[in-house]
């Protein structure tokens, strides 16, 4: 078990190291950041001074090592646009993103679980078909368009909920739903097929023959095993949630990491881009590691496989 966790952790570290190189190189490929920092009438001498001051005249590998060493201490430099330390910007925005993602995840789970289970148990009924329509639509609707339509219809015409900007609980409803919609569809479909497979297995048949109550068969015997493939994809769902958040936060003017990412990329604010990508990657890797551990914990086949 520990060997498994350790090897996964090591893999994540290697992936993060490769990513940090990619991010570093890409950020420098965006063009000379000095053109954005210095005023339009800056002289060649100003450029040379600024380059030396910011350490941009050093060899690339030296710049990279300094970048990594600083990043490890949480120092990502100054934002070119906001003229504030990047870590402060992230500190401001991250809580909003976590709250929105948490809300959206809770809603998704609350919708996907009952729907997925009922669809599998009542296979072929109207409810099952409804669940399938939800799932097909969920994977075919562009998130940003759903957001815009919701803003126009629910917030604009019906005036039921506010359209975006952070605030009280009601502000979470539209962006949370938009963000969770895709996850609901995927999760529900996955749970439905996993349940169907398990319900068809020999040990469930055996449990039924033994006369175990149907409710117990579904909740104790089937669901526990159907959860394995669902957990397998929890990490992927999280990565999807993080990227979808870029679009959703932009549409709903939500002051989170997603919008910060978008603003940084649009404004070529490369210290922020680097920081945002790395912080996101660390969070995604961390979640994936937790998922792996959980996975090994509930499925003994993984633990003893190596």
């Amino acid at each position: 078990m520990w060997r498994f966790v350790l090897s996964r952790a090591l893999q994540s570290l290697v992936a993060l190291a490769i990513l940090s190189v990619v991010v570093f190189v890409l950020a420098r490929a965006t063009g000379d950041p000095l053109h954005l920092i210095l005023p339009a009438n800056a002289t060649a001498e100003d450029f040379a001074n600024a380059r030396e001051y910011l350490g941009l005249d050093r060899p690339l590998h030296e710049q990279y090592l300094r970048f990594v060493a600083n990043a490890a201490r949480g120092d990502f430099g100054m934002s070119i646009r906001a003229r504030r330390p990047v870590i402060e910007l992230i500190g401001d925005r991250l809580p909003y993103s976590l709250k929105l993602a948490g809300f959206s995840m809770a809603v998704s789970l609350a919708l996907a679980f009952p729907l997925g289970i009922i669809a599998a148990v009542r296979k072929g009924t109207a409810l099952d078909r409804f669940a399938q329509v939800v799932s097909v639509l969920g994977q075919s609707l562009p998130t940003f368009w759903v957001g815009i339509v919701l803003i126009e219809v629910v917030a604009g015409r019906l005036q039921w909920f506010p359209a975006g900007e952070a605030g009280g609980f009601s502000h979470y409803i539209l962006p949370g739903f938009t963000l969770g919609w895709f996850v609901v569809a995927g999760l529900m479909r996955l749970l439905r097929s996993a349940m169907l497979e398990v319900l068809d297995s020999d040990y469930v048949k055996m449990a039924r023959i033994k006369g175990v109550a149907e409710r117990r068969v579904i909740w104790r015997h089937a669901l526990k095993n159907a959860l394995i493939p669902v957990i397998t994809f929890a990490g992927i769902y999280f990565a999807i949630l993080v990227t979808t958040a870029i679009v959703v936060e932009t549409v709903f003017a939500w002051p989170g990491m997603g919008r910060l990412t978008y603003e940084a990329i649009a404004g070529r604010d490369f210290p922020v881009i680097q920081a945002v990508v790395l912080v996101t990657a660390v969070i995604v890797a961390g979640v994936n590691l937790c998922v792996d551990c959980l996975y090994a914990l509930i499925d003994p086949r993984i633990r003893y496989a190596r």
Partner: protein, 300 residues
């Protein structure tokens, strides 16, 4: 992500969230509606220059934000209304089909080619080659697609080719994982052993024996991913990192209409409906194809 776990069989990977929605289609019955929608979109894309009722780029500020024909003030010459620069929405949606389909098809082919090569190589050679290639695959799989595509698209500049490359650079990993799984099971079969005994070279076994046997899976995956790529391209264009204006990509049309959503809803609504229709059709068709060609990939 979970590389060697015994349960993460190819079927699991194919069922990745953005792979395919389960459908009510019974295997064997030709999905008329979805194939019809795809055929219409393909025809529209091919014949776009002939079909557009007006020049999709022609601006006319005097007729800006005109409503569709059934609304008050609409005219038949601009059936779906005009955008903020007075350009015909219908013509732009029609030309947009060409862009979306081209990005979708080219990207899945590029990603499929890279993925299949990696999957075949890793599965055939095994050992260290497999370990290295699969680590790279896992690292790519676990990274948020749109985020990396966004960075790539903005650093190298938004353009048609860059969108295709940026998305393919990340998407190949899904193909690699599934094809490798397929190859691993093929390697156990007698005909591969016999080909080896007959003295076939590695190249010949891969191209003549393994590749043809993974084609069904590949075709299913390609179809299932076209819809996903169209959505990713639309999202990138929406964020301003996809196809640059004035080219009418559906995503950027929705973005342009966003500011007028309360007064001129048609500018954003119709490109959105077009995305929904074509992606839905590809997902349903891909589902049917999977049930028919490659039931192993099916979860149910």
């Amino acid at each position: 992500m979970r590389a060697e776990s015994p349960v993460s069989a190819p079927a699991d990977v194919a069922a990745a969230p953005d792979a395919a929605p389960a459908s009510a289609h019974a295997a064997g019955r030709w999905p008329i509606i979805s194939s019809l929608i795809i055929a219409v979109f393909v025809l529209v894309a091919l014949l776009a220059p002939v079909l557009t009722p007006a020049d999709p780029y022609a601006q006319s500020l005097r007729t800006r934000l005109k409503p569709p024909v059934w609304e008050e003030g609409g005219t038949w010459s601009r059936p779906l209304g005009t955008d903020r620069l007075g350009r015909d929405v219908l013509s732009r949606v029609i030309l947009g089909a060409r862009i979306s389909l081209a990005v979708g098809v080219l990207t899945v082919f590029l990603a499929g080619a890279i993925g299949a090569t990696v999957g075949l190589t890793a599965g055939y050679y095994g050992g260290r080659v497999d370990a290295i290639l699969m680590r790279a695959t896992d690292a790519t799989l676990s990274f948020p697609v749109i985020l990396l595509a966004l960075i790539l698209a903005t650093t190298v500049g938004p353009s048609f080719a860059n969108v295709v490359v940026a998305v393919a650079v990340i998407l190949w990993a899904r193909y690699a994982r599934v094809i490798r799984g397929e190859v691993l099971s093929l390697m156990e079969r007698d005909f591969i052993a016999q080909a080896r005994i007959a003295g076939c070279s590695g190249w010949r076994i891969i191209t003549r024996h393994l590749f043809p046997n993974t084609l069904n899976t590949l075709v299913v995956l390609l179809t299932l991913q076209v819809g996903y790529v169209i959505i990713v391209e639309a999202s990138l264009s929406f964020l301003g990192a996809g196809i640059p204006p004035p080219t009418p990509a559906w995503g950027s049309m929705i973005a342009e209409g966003r500011d007028y959503i309360t007064s001129a809803w048609w500018v954003s609504l119709f490109p959105g409906l077009a995305i929904l229709l074509v992606v839905l059709a590809f997902n349903l068709f891909g589902d049917w194809l999977r049930d028919t060609l490659d039931p192993k990939l099916r979860q149910v």
